[in-house]
């Protein structure tokens, strides 16, 4: 029983991290209809920036915020320099560019920061919380992870539902040409979509780094699981990213706990195959009507 509880808690924590990265993928998919394979390495890069600042004894939270701001800038710059010139070109071109970005950033990080793994300090204690006599596999830091991602999700929801910027973003995603005819500066909205996606990714990077062996490839597997989450939820649905993240996180935690951790990647593959064959557009995405 305690194994089940621990696996569930672990699954929820991991799921929230997948959800944050998946949210970034959803932002970019909604804005530009591109699957951003560079999402993980962008987050890796800003997390390295944070740890570099921490090495220079900067305040933890200042380094944390600096990494998020760096993500914002990095996302905007990448959209402007690498993605914008490819608008109107075949859809595969920018996707290949994001793959190139993935290789470039990991190589760059390896040569600047070194390829070896090191540690990243957690914001809060990682010792398991005690309930009565049992120690849960759930720490103060895990509570922080949950809270941070919930804040990210609520912020996203408020942005989309309650602000006119969010209305512009939705219009630009659903009908870019009509949005332009209504005066929405769609180009800026796309840049903003990439910037916000990179912030979500950076946050995930900062949350993951203390829990894994921190090296330039530390986000690779996370990106695969986040991609699974985004596909499960539907690539254009922020709510789907959250639910997809939790489903993937829990499923992988159970697979790892009961069947062996080496089977986790296979579990992700199984989830992808089941979802893609049963409901290819994802759980929360609306199937696109086909014009006849």
């Amino acid at each position: 029983m305690s194994l089940f509880v621990n696996l569930t808690l672990n699954g929820i924590t991991n799921g929230m991290i997948f959800a944050a990265v998946a949210l970034g993928l959803v932002f970019i998919w909604r804005a530009t209809h591109i699957v951003n394979f560079g999402q993980g390495s962008m987050a890796m890069f800003t997390t390295y920036l944070a740890v570099t600042l921490l090495d220079r004894h900067l305040n933890y939270w200042l380094a944390f915020v600096a990494a998020l701001v760096a993500g914002l800038v990095l996302g905007a710059v990448i959209e402007q320099i690498l993605i914008r010139p490819l608008r109107g070109k075949p859809a595969l071109n920018p996707v290949i560019v994001t793959l190139g970005l993935f290789i470039l950033l990991e190589g760059l990080a390896g040569s600047i920061f070194g390829v070896g793994s090191r540690s990243f300090p957690p914001a809060f204690s990682q010792a398991g919380l005690k309930v009565g006599h049992t120690t849960l596999a759930f720490s103060h830091f895990d509570v922080f992870i949950l809270a941070a991602v919930v804040v990210l999700m609520l912020g996203t929801l408020a942005l989309f539902r309650a602000t006119s910027l969010g209305l512009r973003m939705r219009a630009a995603a659903f009908a870019p040409e009509v949005a332009r005819l209504l005066g929405v500066r769609v180009g800026r909205i796309l840049t903003l979509g990439w910037a916000l996606a990179a912030v979500a990714g950076s946050l995930a990077g900062l949350l993951v780094a203390p829990t894994v062996s921190f090296s330039p490839s530390f986000m690779d597997l996370i990106l695969v699981y986040a991609f699974t989450s985004a596909v499960v939820g539907g690539l254009d649905s922020p709510v789907g990213a959250l639910v997809g993240g939790l489903v993937t996180g829990l499923a992988l935690s159970y697979v790892g706990g009961y069947l062996g951790s080496s089977l986790e990647p296979l579990g992700a593959l199984a989830i992808l195959m089941v979802v893609l064959s049963a409901r290819p557009e994802g759980i929360f995405s609306r199937p696109e009507p086909r014009r006849v």
């Binding site: 006119s164 209305l167 512009r168 939705r170 219009a171 659903f174 009908a175 040409e177 009509v178 949005a179 332009r180 005819l181 209504l182 005066g183 929405v184 500066r185 769609v186 609306r286």
Partner: protein
């Protein structure tokens, strides 16, 4: 005044418009008529900046529009209701309308402006919180026109508002366009397949065939020219 001069547009090797010139006076309705593929939609898309011309110019109130971005042209008071209406189905009626006001009005002025549109189209007011995908064809057309008006434009470009509508609904929409032009000095350029109803509300008519202007004259003159009607307008 809208002034289109010697406008030529090509999609690759296909010439969509060749040396098109005409003017639309302030507060008037100008009907742009012609068969399918004559270049009517291309003409509107070029005026609003969605299509870049090969040569020629479009000016509005003395400002050259050619070369400006779509978003900048909108800010000069040009509102374009595209072919197929462009209602965003994933948004509610109210969100669709609000979208039109965003660049134009501050937070406080938006609500009164939306109320004006709801007063103009009462069926929209009843459905303001419904998804736009649930609207009927006529309601969608009201939403598309209402949204275009919500930024208080001075030039309205309408691409086939009657498409797919029942004759009675078409008549109502046309009457509404006529009224708006008369009462608010709105300049309307109306692209239509439905020649009779377009000519019934227009002062001026431009007939386009294979990308060239056949005639640009008073609407009643065009309507009275039996040969021209038979030849280019099919009635």
């Amino acid at each position: 005044m809208l002034d289109v001069e010697e406008l030529s547009v090509a999609y690759g090797a296909v010439k969509a418009l060749q040396g098109v010139s005409f003017q639309a006076q302030d507060g008037s309705v100008t009907a742009v008529l012609g068969a399918n593929g004559a270049g009517k939609t291309t003409l509107l898309r070029t005026v609003s900046g969605l299509v870049k011309p090969q040569s020629g110019t479009v000016s509005y109130d003395g400002v050259k529009l050619t070369g400006l971005s779509v978003e900048s042209i909108v800010r000069l008071g040009v509102s374009h209701v595209p072919e197929g209406r462009g209602v965003i189905e994933e948004l509610t009626v109210d969100e669709n309308l609000r979208l039109g006001t965003l660049w134009r009005f501050g937070h406080r002025e938006r609500r009164p402006m939306l109320q004006e549109i709801y007063d103009l189209f009462p069926p929209l007011a009843e459905r303001r919180n419904r998804m736009a995908s649930t609207l009927s064809g006529g309601e969608r057309q009201m939403l598309a026109i209402g949204r275009a008006l919500s930024s208080k434009p001075t030039l309205l470009l309408l691409d086939e508002p009657s498409l797919g509508l029942a004759p009675l609904v078409t008549a109502q929409i046309m009457a509404m366009i006529r009224k708006l032009a008369r009462e608010t000095r709105l300049t309307v350029v109306l692209v239509e397949q439905n020649v009779r109803s377009a000519l019934s509300i227009a002062e001026e008519a431009v007939v386009i065939n294979l990308g060239r202007v056949v005639i640009a004259d008073r609407a009643d003159t065009v309507a009275a020219d039996t040969q021209l009607r038979h030849h280019y307008l099919g009635f």
